[in-house]
């Protein structure tokens, strides 16, 4: 609770977050550059897939981040509904476009990777692919609902409800597509199972993942700051209008 109370006050949040926002973003960029360099040039080539597998250093961490971003939004939405915490709404709203971007990046890189490896850009029988695609649409719906409401308070509440309902639904979708797969008896594409990943593969992957995480934190904070400043600017404009009228 001590950490939360620091962020409870928007003024204190604005004072502290500036340094964190730029610090995290810079750290993230550095880690991503280093990790991608390691992954592309230093790490050994995959013994089956050769150099094509190097796309995983972009793909796998972005999938992790897309799920982390949604989990973060679910947590923030929960805090918003239970404690009516204004900053929690701002946090969830700010994280959404970044989470959606990571999801899109994951889907696109996955598709590019899948084409040479599986011989298809898209495989509907795979639970992971389909549930991530639905996750992407939930991100879109979440952002759409923020746009559609006439007051920010109503939008915050409606978006939080949608986010929580989506959190229940997403595991169900994953499970149901798995079921579809077993029903149709499709061939498994990850033939041979997951090969033991050695440290040579792991290190760049974790570096990029940490970089993404830092970038996500930094960009979310920047978005939150912009959101709070926008609200303040609107309040000032309204006050000015009221003064001019009165």
């Amino acid at each position: 609770m001590a950490v939360m109370s620091i962020f409870a006050n928007p003024h204190r949040f604005m004072a502290v977050s500036k340094w964190f926002a730029w610090g995290f973003s810079g750290l993230g960029a550095a880690l991503i550059l280093f990790g991608v360099y390691q992954g592309l040039f230093i790490a050994p080539a995959d013994y089956q897939q050769g150099d094509a597998a190097r796309i995983m250093y972009i793909h796998v961490p972005s999938m992790w981040l897309s799920m982390f971003a949604y989990a973060f939004m679910v947590g923030a939405s929960f805090v918003s509904i239970v404690w009516k915490h204004a900053l929690a709404d701002v946090a969830a709203k700010s994280a959404a476009p970044i989470g959606a971007a990571f999801t899109a990046l994951g889907l696109i890189t996955g598709s590019i990777w899948g084409q040479p490896m599986w011989g298809t850009w898209w495989e509907w029988g795979d639970a992971r692919l389909v549930s991530v695609l639905i996750l992407f649409f939930v991100f879109l719906a979440y952002m759409a609902i923020w746009q559609a409401m006439d007051t920010p308070q109503k939008a915050a509440r409606a978006a939080a409800i949608l986010c929580l309902v989506g959190a229940i639904n997403l595991p169900v979708i994953h499970f149901s597509v798995d079921f579809l797969n077993t029903l149709h008896q499709k061939a498994t594409f990850f033939a041979g199972g997951e090969e033991k990943a050695t440290i040579g593969f792991k290190a760049p992957m974790y570096t990029v993942a940490l970089g993404y995480l830092a970038l996500f934190g930094g960009l979310t904070l920047l978005n939150m700051r912009a959101e709070i400043m926008l609200t303040r600017a609107e309040m000032l404009a309204q006050r000015k209008q009221a003064q001019a009228a009165g």
Binding site: A141, I145, A158, V165, G166, I168, N169, V177
Partner: protein
């Protein structure tokens, strides 16, 4: 409790009489299914393959049609405010309205389904199963749809928002429902997918009144 019952009776009357009642969604359902042979070709084998899936998509979309007005009309003319002040729990009102509209639209959709099933070259002996899965599936669609309807109640032209927010919630029901029909059509075990369709419906029933009521309380603030 009695308050919820009288809301239910009122809604049932309104849903049957007001604005064409079930005619429009059922008509849409029929036309959407009948378009299929024109698009995939009239060959029996093609239709047998595409039929059950197309029927479920058409039913999901037809279930969305009543959603835009489910709560919006009552929000606009102040009925929801009166309900909120009446002391009846908003959860009960949301559930009563959803069930009333399911009876008025979902059941007619389910009764139309076997006719369309046979038109799409489905085996006639599976028709009772079509009615059963459609009843369960449309109930699930209405439960999940009510969440989207409540979220978009205060939004003008909220229909597209409802579709975007609701269709991801329809996915499990659609997969299990269509899987039941495919399994029944080729004489395989349909019990498991049927039970899972029911589970999706029960999940909707468990979430929907609370999520919808929360959204409606926000909308009338």
């Amino acid at each position: 409790m009695s308050g919820s019952v009288s809301v239910f009776v009122r809604e049932l009357k309104l849903a049957w009489s007001g604005g064409g009642g079930p005619v429009l969604p059922v008509g849409f359902f029929g036309v959407a299914c009948i378009m299929t042979p024109f698009a995939v070709g009239p060959e029996i084998e093609n239709l047998k393959t595409a039929g059950p899936g197309v029927m479920w998509i058409a039913m999901a979309l037809a279930s969305l049609l009543p959603m835009e007005r489910l709560f919006q009309a009552d929000l606009e003319d102040g009925t929801l405010d009166a309900y909120a002040g009446s002391g009846v729990a908003m959860e009960g009102i949301a559930l009563a309205k959803t069930v009333a509209h399911w009876i008025a639209t979902g059941i007619p959709l389910s009764l139309a389904a076997p006719i369309l099933w046979i038109l799409l070259q489905g085996a006639p002996e599976v028709a009772p199963m079509v009615i059963l899965t459609s009843l369960i599936g449309s109930a699930a669609f209405f439960m999940f749809g009510a969440i989207g309807a409540a979220l978009a109640a205060g939004v003008r032209r909220g229909g597209l928002l409802i579709a975007l927010a609701t269709l991801p919630l329809y996915v499990p029901t659609m997969i299990f429902g269509a899987a039941t029909l495919y399994a029944a059509a080729i004489g395989e075990g349909w019990q498991t997918p049927l039970m899972l369709t029911g589970a999706a419906g029960l999940l909707g029933l468990a979430i929907s009144p609370f999520a919808a009521a929360m959204a409606l309380r926000t909308a009338i603030d």
